[in-house]
């Protein structure tokens, strides 16, 4: 079977976030700034770009930039979109369709409030099953579906609120090492349990932030990557799977399609969970990160709670997870998957400052989109792992 392993590399990254939760730029101007920064990081220019990925309109973005791409991808799978973009970009580069692909994300929900921007969610044309069969029951989005997953996990496996809280606590410990994180003060398990209940069993501190944020990555072929400014970070494996769109259609609320996407990506990369030095697992909620640990095989199904309780996912632990401070404490502008890739690349380049994981060679960016609907897993590695 043909494999993408080692055929493409991320050669430039950028991201923007702020302790205030707000950014000055927004919209296309912010996207353009991120692209410029990522291209500068790579030592490339816009003239080199012949592939564009965007979650809303790759056409609109390319038009704004004055680019005429030969590879275009407007895939939107929610928060995992950027892992899917990375997978598609690597496949397109490997197939010879294009040479340099840029994916970008910018979202400013926090400062948009001040600008009086009214967010509208696009509606599906034609019959909308969610409007007919879910929304009349008043489920809070997006946290309600995740709370339902947590309730079932607790009932099946005895998982506790304390165990979920420990994930938030150790993620905050990482954020303390990131000067751009929204929240950096340490928290305790008791702090999480004392924070206001949102949609049971999730407390406020079990939930991700709402902040402005933006980022971009640049990918090219392994051959071209060798001659650029930064050490290439290779795509070793990629996998994607979705098994529902609405939460009421999820086959098993304690098992995500990450079981499939993760296994496929790890197989392509030729790695086992033990080989992973840094895990960037989308933490929209504490339960989300816990499900990733189980579904990617870091522990058995149902054992995520006891697994995290010794604090191993925090600084100095045996499984560094969400080292930028995560969606829980760093930034979460809505579709956070871009930041997973950017942090994974920085860790593998040794550019993560005080939060650097020593000798990191293999990192996993595992995106989760919509309501545990679409999982996409990218395994990244240094030259030594290729």
């Amino acid at each position: 079977m043909a494999s993408l392993r080692g055929t493409a590399a991320i050669v430039g990254v950028s991201d923007a976030a702020s302790p205030t939760g707000e950014l000055d730029l927004h919209g296309r101007a912010l996207e353009a700034a991120m692209i410029q920064e990522a291209l500068e990081d790579a030592g490339l220019t816009l003239a080199d770009v012949d592939g564009i990925c965007h979650t809303t309109s790759s056409m609109g973005l390319a038009e704004y930039l004055g680019v005429h791409p030969v590879f275009t991808d407007s895939t939107n799978t929610g928060g995992s979109s950027f892992e899917v973009h990375a997978e598609h970009a690597a496949a397109a580069i490997n197939a010879g369709l294009c040479d340099v692909v840029v994916s970008v994300y910018a979202s400013t929900p926090r400062s948009d409030r001040k600008r009086g921007v009214r967010w509208t969610r696009p509606t599906m044309p034609g019959p909308n099953p969610m409007l007919e069969w879910e929304l009349p029951y008043g489920l809070r989005l997006p946290m309600g579906p995740y709370a339902m997953a947590a309730s079932r996990h607790m009932a099946d496996f005895g998982t506790t609120s304390e165990q979920l809280a420990q994930i938030a606590v150790r993620t905050r410990d990482w954020a303390a090492l990131n000067p751009r994180a929204r929240y950096r003060d340490p928290i305790t398990i008791d702090d999480v349990l004392a924070s206001p209940m949102q949609t049971s069993p999730l407390h406020l501190l079990d939930c991700c932030l709402v902040t402005d944020g933006a980022g971009a990555f640049v990918m090219t072929s392994a051959a071209r990557a060798k001659h650029l400014r930064r050490p290439p970070i290779y795509v070793l494996g990629a996998g994607t799977c979705h098994d529902h769109s609405m939460i009421s259609e999820m086959p098993d609320l304690t098992t995500t399609p990450g079981v499939i996407s993760g296994a496929n990506a790890f197989r392509m990369a030729g790695i086992k969970p033990d080989d992973v030095d840094v895990l960037m697992g989308y933490d929209s909620f504490t339960i989300t990160a816990l499900l990733h640990l189980e579904d990617l095989g870091f522990c058995a199904k149902g054992e995520g709670g006891p697994f995290v309780m010794d604090g191993k996912t925090g600084p100095g632990g045996s499984l560094p997870m969400n080292t930028n401070g995560g969606g829980l404490s760093y930034t979460h502008p809505g579709m956070y998957g871009m930041f997973l890739l950017v942090e994974a690349v920085r860790q593998l380049r040794g550019e993560a400052g005080r939060r650097q994981v020593p000798d990191a060679e293999i990192a996993v960016a595992h995106g989760s989109g919509m309501v545990l609907s679409c999982m996409s897993t990218i395994v990244l590695g240094t030259e030594a792992t290729r």
């Binding site: 509208t120 969610r121 007919e132 339902m148 079932r152």
Partner: protein, 158 residues
């Protein structure tokens, strides 16, 4: 994240200004008509002899298009639930915390609903429930669930 949800203020989770009432489609018309008489119909694939939820135009197992409506007993168990402490729909529970649950129906289908008829903290995973009806503004009734009488008589576990 919720990019295919209908137009609503976001992402601040501001409460909906009025109750969201389900639209009726050509396909779901028989279901909603039956709710006017508090009858709970379920769509079945004739070829598979299995229920289909949510109602649609083809069977999601075999793509068969010979589908029919059969009465459901309206019994099920709570597969999972959450208690909404910040009500998204002020018409539900008068602004108080309320239960949103996924119900596994005895016929073998799963649907989202509310569980009323007991305090939210008494609803648990695995709780037996039966269908009840919440009136909508146009004479239709929304299928919701309540504890089965025998369960209430035994005292609901917390």
């Amino acid at each position: 994240m919720a990019t295919h949800a209908p137009a609503e203020p976001g992402p601040t989770d501001a409460p909906a200004p009025q109750r969201i009432e389900p639209p009726v489609t050509e396909t779901s018309q028989p279901f909603w008509d039956a709710t006017r008489e508090k009858r709970f119909l379920m769509q079945w694939c004739v070829a598979c002899d299995k229920p289909i939820w949510f109602p649609r135009e083809i069977c999601p197992r075999c793509m068969g298009s010979t589908l029919e409506w059969r009465p459901s007993a309206g019994f099920g168990v709570v597969y999972t639930l959450t208690v909404e402490h910040k009500p998204q729909n002020p018409a539900i529970g008068g602004g108080a915390p309320y239960v949103v649950a996924l119900i596994d129906l005895d016929e073998g289908a799963r649907m989202m609903s509310n569980v009323f008829g007991c305090p939210p903290e008494h609803v648990y995973v695995g709780m037996p429930v039966r269908v009840a009806w919440d009136p909508l503004s146009d004479g239709r009734n929304l299928p919701v669930f309540e504890p089965r009488p025998e369960d209430l008589a035994n005292g609901a576990p917390s």
